[in-house]
Symmetry: C2
């Protein structure tokens, strides 16, 4: 829904239960072992639950493709880890030649590097199962971005998209965010942030640092320094406030010729832009994005890597009113965390706790509230403020309700 | 105190009240105005209170110099801001030609760019007084580092140092930290962290990003990838866990020739090192530091910029038991936040609330506890664990006690 702003909705969504099947063993080399808990004959593996929102920009091509493919990339990454994740022992640091981690039993592995004996290496970092899942999701986002790059011409994939995905796997939620969508958990009325937004303002220092080290990326038209407003040529020699990549505070500097260039990061809040072009700094796609009427590429400043936060569902008791809410910025720009939590409570109490449709009703309510009602002076919210003109998408995922993930 | 580990204490400390005097006006150009609240005749300005700890390494030279000079660099930066900080209006974005911000009255300034009229620039970022102080402190650290670089040969300044400084100015504490010292506030028994540590582990991604963009800094001997342990040549072709600069999780990769190089970041906790050499990633000095028996410089990976946190003293009621504690890692390595808070409470209650020496007694107690007692099996804490063998320095600063900063 986008309040009639455009014909097509650039938001896309996906919701799947995915089976991660262990890779077939190389022919005859490692026969499957007895008692290894195989499902469906040789189909050993596990399931994950998956919900994702993709907020497209400059076209829906990247968002559509990501909505069809990202979970498959995650599955592909996890296939290598089927055995390792199901074994309660710490993941092996190193695997033998030509063996997928999915085919390693600790018994085989122990012959190579003893696991229970005193460590052979004085310094050896322990790596958790959880951080292997995080690594798998991170690399899946990278592979998704690479696929969009490869197929963007043949598939005519326009634009880019923010991506927010929630993966439920072995008792834990992994919430991966690349862009300005947002996820929160509402548990017993309390709000637990499950993501942060990646924008020119929140990622200013990473971008300035890159531009400082690789000034050629700025194409002689931009400066990596930040100024509170544009500088006029007649202001040369005056002192103006600035921020360099190392600074969180501001200081005065004498304006030089080079400072008259346009700042790499410019604007505030929803109007902040990278090189006057894009308002988000993480996501998928945008491989052809350039500064208007120039040959300066934006992509080097964008990251396709998500930040992944983990929520251990087994650590808390959950009631049917506890939910995970995923939303694109169309929701959050006009409805804050507290208002969302309030609407969740309000709607849920009007349905029976075991009625599965109560969560769908919450999602609908959140979308309708944020869109507002069409009045003479445009789309208006209940408080008479302007409704969201952006696409609005919401998932409301029960944590302790009728949906049982185990 | 360093438990007899070495002859000299590499920790240094400084505690001062500093007067920031407005710069004298250029001859005759801007006569001082009436009613501008000048102190001591033409000595217009303000005071700040200052406490700082410098934890030296590889010699005490940098620490000694920083303890004598850093507050003067902070003063120098603030001198430009005397008028701006004392004026409740928002700081001017741009100043006229050749005029120090300390000499600008808003009345003069308004003639150039109207302040109360509709803004001339559509996008103009508001900059707070607080962020000017932060910028001043940040640039003072940079200037301090530059001075050490310039004078290190003539003054024979060896090594480098972590720096932790607390500045009380106009109702607010600014706590600036570059290194692995730590500051906490204890208010009504509650612990409020006022700094975070900068170590190879906490700054891994910044360092890997730099090495990825500038591989020449690694001198063909190091790899920017992180591995959980050293790789042996015979492991070529096996799969091993790794982390790249974009990743927080871990994944397996096939070991290639290049991966046999030593990792840029290696080790865990107190043993983590940058290029097998240094265990902190921010601080002053270290301009000549190189990887052992090589020509590879460490300094490009170190930052002299602090993170500055602000605590507004006027926002809360404070009692005489509320304190700000600054300590070098010699304290925090063996005594955690909670134990420090416990010791503070314990000692303070045994003195009258208006006895100024009670804070000194707390600091002494914290040092003695962390050093421990010499027994047959070395220096031991009360819980029989090993005491700190490092230098230990502590400031305990009353927030609501007999010391009145206003």
């Amino acid at each position: 829904i986008n309040a009639g702003k455009s014909q097509h909705n650039e938001d896309q969504a996906c919701c799947e239960v995915v089976f991660v099947e262990r890779r077939p063993s190389p022919r005859g080399r490692l026969p499957s072992r007895e008692g290894s808990g195989e499902l469906n004959g040789d189909r050993k593996g596990f399931y994950f639950h998956y919900w994702a929102l993709f907020d497209g920009h400059a076209g829906s091509g990247a968002a559509v493709m990501a909505s069809k493919r990202l979970h498959l990339h995650i599955c592909e990454q996890l296939r290598d880890l089927v055995d390792v994740l199901q074994d309660p022992s710490p993941p092996p640091i190193c695997l033998p030649h030509n063996v997928e981690p999915s085919r390693v039993s600790l018994a085989e592995y122990d012959g190579e590097v003893p696991n229970d004996a005193a460590p052979r290496f004085h310094l050896e970092k322990a790596v958790s199962h959880e951080s292997l899942v995080i690594g798998a999701i991170e690399n899946a986002f990278k592979n998704m971005d690479d696929q969009i790059e490869r197929e963007r011409v043949s598939q005519r994939l326009a634009g880019g998209c923010c991506a927010l995905a929630a993966i439920y796997l072995m008792g834990k939620f992994y919430v991966a965010n690349a862009g300005d969508s947002r996820a929160i958990i509402i548990r017993n009325g309390e709000i637990i942030p499950m993501s942060r937004e990646f924008t020119p303002e929140t990622e200013r220092q990473r971008l300035q640092f890159l531009a400082f080290l690789k000034p050629e990326l700025l194409g002689k038209e931009f400066t990596h320094l930040e100024f509170p407003r544009r500088i006029q040529p007649k202001e040369l020699g005056k002192k103006m406030l600035y921020r360099d990549q190392n600074m969180n505070g501001w200081a005065y500097k004498k304006i030089e010729e080079d400072d008259l260039k346009f700042p790499l990061i410019y604007g505030e809040g929803k109007k902040a832009r990278v090189m006057a072009t894009i308002g988000v700094t993480r996501g998928l796609g945008d491989h052809d994005l350039k500064v208007f009427s120039s040959n300066i590429h934006i992509k080097p400043f964008l990251s396709c890597f998500p930040e992944v936060r983990v929520y251990d569902l087994t650590q808390y008791e959950h009631c049917p009113d506890d939910v995970l809410v995923l939303g694109t910025d169309g929701l959050w720009d006009v409805t804050n965390d507290k208002e969302v939590a309030g609407a969740v409570m309000e709607v849920l109490t009007s349905y029976e706790p075991n009625d599965p449709c109560r969560y769908t009703m919450v999602a609908q309510e959140l979308v309708m509230r944020s869109r507002g009602v069409l009045k003479e002076r445009g789309w208006r919210l209940a408080n008479d403020k302007l409704g969201s003109g952006d696409d609005i998408s919401v998932f409301v995922i029960p944590l302790g309700g009728p949906g049982n993930y185990t």
